[in-house]
């Protein structure tokens, strides 16, 4: 599933980060920020309007991602 579909406070692992356009700069940046396969992520908050942006905890860092940005990240829910 996509990171945008992950429920709040549910641990998941990044499976892939896709490019939406060729040589997608946002995808490259997401990877530099640590969104790479195998990393644990969790959604910790939503913005007040249309639940956008998402606040994503990855490693020891919290990043605010707009929904369009987060849609590039695929995740798999961790077994509870």
């Amino acid at each position: 599933m996509r990171l945008t579909e992950l429920p709040k406070h549910v641990a998941a692992t990044v499976t892939a980060v896709e490019e939406l356009v060729a040589a997608d700069p946002i995808t490259r940046r997401l990877r530099d920020l640590g969104f790479v396969a195998g990393e644990l992520v969790e959604i910790v908050a939503y913005g007040p309007v249309q639940r956008d942006p998402l606040l994503v905890q990855i490693g020891y860092t919290r990043f605010a991602l707009r929904r369009t940005e987060a849609a590039r990240v695929s995740v798999a829910q961790e077994p509870a």
Partner: protein, 612 residues
């Protein structure tokens, strides 16, 4: 430069505490300028080590990666690679990493290490890391990175003593062995972390607890609204007496200095040119200092990105970003600090849009003009049994400014050629208590930038305006006020046909020219045109009566509409020039504001004329 001078650059992720470390090392011995041709801040300072060595320390802009995504990161990349024109490659790189956030920061450390240049890693915020129970095997980390690793606590006295001692040892560390070019840095980071760091929990409990409240959809927005309200209260209740005090002080000083001088051109130049110019520059200082005090405290504490998080969706809808909120809000006090605050916006396109719409926020200088015209022309009536008509008009003027800012931002989004996605990708750093020294240094920087870079332009223009308003002098037996015979008067009369379609008489046209100095000056300039003198309050009262008799309602409404857009604030144009480095953008800003002002006044004048 002496042999002993070592050139060192601080490099690291945003929020690694690099600037605090820079402030700790250099104290007040620092210089803020811009990199040539761009508006990225260049901060350099000197460190005098105990062994008597002088170190030139450069604080490079924070970067997540050498795969640069902003002008800041490009500069950092190019200087680290030693290929930035006009900047020699640093002798030593000090790569700063936050010990509580190594998963992210170590990746960049490895990217720096890959450069194969002499470097040292400063493991910063070690106090916070220990408090959280993070344990780091420094020796093993050094061995694995192949570079010296030194613990620092940038916010504590002598927290960088070990780093200074390292810089003092006369040998540069050898260049580190670089990883193979195709190595996956993330895998390398995981291996290093596994071998060297034990971390009990992923985030601080305080951060979790605070974010639950601060980012709550309802409570979070309420907290933001209360905070902004308090800041505005503070700005207006603290800045107004200071501004008035500076104004009075400069005027008194001018009178004192010129007391014994004979009446004449020189005295007029000093009183109405030099001292007014000085006053115009200095009265901005309280506003800038107070607003930036709050902005810096919010930024240092980690709250500012949270405010941006809460507001991003709303701002993004009209082609802005959550980061634009604070600069735009500041612009309600004054566009000068507002435009200076746009530096925290990463995307250059978002930053430019914010700079261009900031003057549409109704600044405090427009209030005297609104007050004069509303009091003179809008009856004090109660409408719908509840509202005061004058209040409604004032609200409508503020509202018109905001709505037009949204429309302008949306239009800019639509016409922009570069349609690639704007990014947010914003880190919300851990909450921190702001360090007084860092806030103080930040404030000093803002004040100096304003005084040095913008003060000069404003001062020159004010003196130029004095020349325009004073020469040539009135002839013998003149019946009209002297300003009518001056160049400003001639320009006003010359421009009158241009402004006739929007209902401005020549008096308004003439008053608009000295009004270039600052919007509220238009009130006293109108007073001058109608040959009144005395304190502003009295002038404004008398003036109200005169214009109520002489102007039509349509003209008054037209002038009100003009002031919603009011392109004629030289200080705003000067700060736009400084912050964008481009006269072209200044021309675009002045041009579009003028066009909007003219169009709005034209429509207002015609409709009001038809109805009355």
């Amino acid at each position: 430069m002496s042999e002993a001078t070592l050139r060192v650059a601080l490099v690291g992720n945003p929020n690694c505490g690099k600037t605090a470390l820079f402030n700790q090392l250099t104290g007040s011995r620092q210089k803020v300028a811009n990199y040539a041709g761009v508006t990225v801040e260049r901060k350099e300072g000197r460190v005098y080590t105990p062994a008597g060595r002088i170190i030139q320390l450069l604080d490079l802009p924070g970067a997540y990666s050498f795969d640069a995504a902003s002008p800041d990161e490009e500069i950092t990349r190019d200087i680290c690679h030693g290929r930035y024109p006009g900047e020699a490659a640093p002798d030593l790189l000090v790569c700063v990493a936050d010990a509580t956030n190594l998963r992210l920061h170590l990746r960049f450390v490895l990217e720096v290490q890959r450069l194969g240049r002499p470097m040292v890693v400063a493991l910063n915020m070690m106090d916070a890391a220990r408090k959280r129970g993070v344990r780091i095997d420094i020796d093993e980390l050094q061995r694995r990175l192949g570079v010296p690793v030194i613990e620092t606590v940038a916010v504590r006295r002598n927290g960088a003593a070990d780093l200074v001692a390292k810089l003092d040892s006369h040998e540069l560390p050898p260049a580190p062995p670089a990883l193979p070019a195709d190595a996956d840095l993330h895998i390398a980071v995981r291996e290093i972390l596994l071998a060297t760091v034990s971390m009990p929990s992923r985030t601080g409990r305080i951060d979790d607890a605070l974010d639950r409240i601060v980012l709550h959809p309802v409570a979070g927005l309420a907290i933001l609204a209360v905070l902004m309200f308090l800041i505005f209260q503070a700005v207006f209740s603290w800045a107004t007496p200071l501004t008035d005090g500076i104004d009075a002080g400069i005027t008194a000083l001018g009178t004192l200095v010129t007391q014994s001088m004979p009446e004449g051109v020189l005295k007029s130049l000093l009183v109405n040119g030099v001292f007014v110019g000085l006053g115009t520059v200095l009265v901005f200082l309280p506003l800038i200092l107070i607003l930036f005090f709050f902005i810096l405290v919010l930024e240092e504490s980690g709250y500012l990105p949270r405010a941006a998080f809460l507001l991003d969706r709303m701002m993004y809808g009209v082609g802005l970003t959550g980061r634009a909120f604070i600069p735009l809000l500041s612009s309600f006090a004054c566009a000068i600090p507002g435009i200076m605050a746009t530096r925290s916006i990463q995307d250059p396109r978002d930053r430019l849009t914010t700079i261009l719409v900031a003057p549409l926020m109704t600044c405090s200088a427009r209030l005297p003009v609104y007050a004069l015209l509303i009091a003179a022309f809008i009856p004090r009536e109660t409408v719908w049994g509840l509202f005061n008509l004058q209040g409604i008009v004032l609200f409508a003027l503020y509202f018109a400014g905001i709505i037009s800012a949204l429309i302008v931002a949306a239009v800019m989004k639509y016409v922009r050629r570069d349609k690639s996605e704007h990014t947010l990708l914003m880190e919300l750093p851990s909450y921190r208590l702001p360090n007084p020294r860092d806030v103080a240094i930040g404030l000093k920087d803002r004040a100096m930038i304003f005084l040095k870079r913008v003060g000069g332009i404003i001062f020159t223009l004010i003196v130029l305006l004095w020349v325009l308003s004073s020469f040539p002098g009135a002839p013998e037996g003149a019946t009209l006020p002297p300003i009518d015979y001056s160049l400003a008067g001639m320009i006003g009369h010359f421009l009158q046909p241009l402004f006739a379609p929007i209902g401005f008489g020549w008096q308004i046209c003439v008053a608009l020219i000295p009004g270039l100095a600052a919007r509220e000056v238009a009130v006293s300039a109108l007073g001058t045109v109608y040959a009144m003198s005395g304190p502003t309050d009295t002038v404004s009262l008398q003036l109200g009566h005169v214009i109520a008799q002489q102007w039509s309602l349509a003209t008054a409404l037209s002038l009100l509409a003009w002031y919603v857009f009011a392109p004629q604030c030289l200080s705003t144009l000067a700060i736009i020039r400084r912050e964008t480095g481009s006269w072209k953008i200044v021309a675009v800003a002045a041009g579009y504001l003028f066009a909007l002002a003219y169009a709005a006044s034209f429509i207002t004048f015609r409709i009001a004329g038809a109805l009355t």
